[in-house]
Symmetry: C2
Subunit: 127 residues, 2 copies
Amino acid sequence: MALNLSPDSRVPIFEQIERYWIYRIAAGDPATGERIPSVRDMAQRILVHPNTIVHAYGELERAGIIVARRGIGMEVTADAPRICKEKRESLLGDRVRELFVEAEQAGMSRADLVRLVREIMNQMGAE
Amino acid sequence: MALNLSPDSRVPIFEQIERYWIYRIAAGDPATGERIPSVRDMAQRILVHPNTIVHAYGELERAGIIVARRGIGMEVTADAPRICKEKRESLLGDRVRELFVEAEQAGMSRADLVRLVREIMNQMGAE
DNA sequence: CTCCGTGTACCACAATTCTAGCACACTAGT
DNA sequence: ACTAGTGTGCTAGAATTGTGGTACACGGAG
């Protein structure tokens, strides 16, 4: 469950960090009232500039997931679990929809897509 | 089968154009020896700057899918159908893999993912 | 009070993507 | 020849994303 950053990915680093905490909080690990690592701590842990962390945390705050307490840290709100679960469904749903759209544009039938998915699932092992 | 550009998408416009022709050629519509629209024609048709088309066509040429003939146009090569079919599988495979990775990071089980996929498939209609 | 750790606010710079415009080289048709 | 249409090359700017650095404001521990 570690944060595995992909700097070459199309999704910006700040958004990868944002999603990481959304998924973590949706899973209940940092619960309401608890705090997530400070900007500088997080930056040092994943070797990213503090400003990038600030950007990610700012998005989480605007979404009502965390609240900034100066001199203290970023605290998980009461609504955070609900919001994060909703966002988790939304994010994964978007990915699935994108896959369907791409397959349709590629002229690939639904049956072929299912076959491709099974093939890749086998490649990636049981888990 | 029209080119539906998404300027706000994370995938750059030049790459959307590139994929469009890969999928088209993989389907066999512009066949070997035929030509794809000129840079200026394509730019005017989809309301994009010619330089963006040049970028997309340049990638297709580097991949050996088309060959530039000055004063004539961009011609589909003999190897293009094979290359485009390979790329089509590769592109869709990457999308599927990304979905699995995202679901795993979200702590979503494979069963839950399958359930989500079916749900969205129903939402998107039969087709 | 002082010190340290916290969030916040700037500024500057680089890389990528896209837009914008211009000039040049080549080919076909007239 | 001339013209129109093709690909090619160049410079420049805007917007986004990320890095790098500095300074300031707030709160708790000593």
